[in-house]
Symmetry: C2
Subunit: 231 residues, 2 copies
DNA sequence: CGTAGAGGATTGTTCAACGATCCCTCAATA
DNA sequence: TATTGAGGGATCGTTGAACAATCCTCTACG
């Protein structure tokens, strides 16, 4: 009986998630992720609310959710806009990634670790690369690093990094050269995974730091050309 | 001229931030932080909205802001409550702190560092202790660690930890033995500061890790007695 | 003593309205 | 020509009200 009650309690989370605002924010989030709403786009309450058939209040709640995820920015009396990352934002994202991801790797206990998720993300990336789906490679890459952070076993840390990765996607979308951006890192993810499988945390952390530095450099280089102003 | 325009641009951030919902959430946030609304308190829409003279819609928007910050929990059809942390929450908070704070210290470049903020927080704690203001000691302690995180120079990391520290304050209010909780750590903060002044990052990180482990143990020990259920 | 049900109170959601603010346009002026 | 200022239209911010859904309490009954 206690077991069944526990299962029901788990399902409850699914039920409670039936909020209209959350569904709206899910829709908008994927629209933003796929580039349907490019960075800088203004999201009007009237037009979007009308198109989706939800009230302004509900829509504003959805906006607030996405604003908290830093995907939208809110300007008083002007509305919400899809975030346009500055170069400084990108640098801060990588600064945070380097800090947290390397700390996660170095802070792992003794092996073996649960590396199934990481291995799955690597495989996902290789498959996408074979099919020439470079955006898919980028997504798999983000999955890899999300799984990496999950190894720390901290809900709060995982949530922070989830939002950081979502932001990073905004930058990728501005750059829009997915192959050049993501292809080189498939092999490096494999190397990191291998180091972890060998239980060599220090080596994995070193590889990871190098990876992040290179990736930042590459993103920023293209990014500067794209966004006119500095940041 | 360009200089002056830059200064003005900095001030602009101050101008823009005036939304009723945000001001309300500021008020509630500090009320919660100071313990005026202890964990578990239900925040009624009618009474609070009436007392503050804002409409239900606006108040609900403020509630949502604080819910996103994890200071309130929302129960469907029952209202919002000041969050009651579980033991697991406390453990995850300290897991995150240990990960991030130690990584910040280890990741510092070469000395000297800008340690004025840290030194100020230490002094603030000592002064509060002299006056027997143990809650003030706790506040100063949080300031110390906030300044520590600020050394990383990452806006995102700082914001994450700000919210983590705000959560932690909820736990302190439940425990409500401020002297026993905070007094032992004044000296340890001094030691950490001294290690940093000497440029010995590794020593500082070790002290910090020990500090956090002890603090967690102490909080959890008292916390288990306070909250009836497990967590 | 335990349970079912009625009633009151509170929240969930939407809508309409009004004031405030911003943006754009256009004319006036130096 | 470039700058300033006024006006109009659009959008946002906030409120108040309305009604449905849900929860809590208390009563009545077996």
């Amino acid at each position: 009986m206690a077991e069944q009650l526990k299962d029901l309690a788990d399902d409850r989370a699914l039920l409670g998630r039936t909020s209209t605002a959350e569904r709206v924010s899910d829709i908008l989030r994927s629209r933003i992720a796929e580039g349907y709403f490019p960075p800088g786009t203004r999201l009007s309450e009237d037009s979007i609310g009308g198109a989706l058939g939800v009230s302004r209040n509900t829509l504003r709640e959805a906006f607030r959710l996405l604003t908290h995820e830093r995907l939208l920015v809110h300007e008083l009396n002007r509305g919400v806009f899809v975030r346009v990352l500055t170069v400084e934002d990108v640098e801060d994202i990588y600064r945070t990634r380097r800090l947290v991801e390397c700390a996660v790797v170095r802070g792992l206990g003794d092996p073996p670790y649960g590396l199934d998720g990481l291995a799955g993300a690597v495989e996902e990336g290789r498959r996408a690369a074979r099919e020439g789906d470079w955006k898919g490679v980028g997504t798999a890459n983000i999955h890899f690093h999300r799984e990496l952070v999950a190894l720390a076993g901290s809900e709060r840390t995982a949530e922070l990094m989830r939002s950081v990765f979502a932001e990073l996607r905004l930058a990728f979308h501005v750059v829009d050269e997915p192959q050049r951006l993501h292809e080189p890192y498939i092999a490096r993810n494999v190397a990191i995974l291998r180091a972890l499988q060998d239980g060599d945390r220090e080596q994995a952390a070193t590889l990871l730091a190098g990876y992040l530095d290179d990736s930042l450099e590459r993103v920023v280089e293209v990014y500067r050309r794209r966004v006119g102003e500095d940041g």
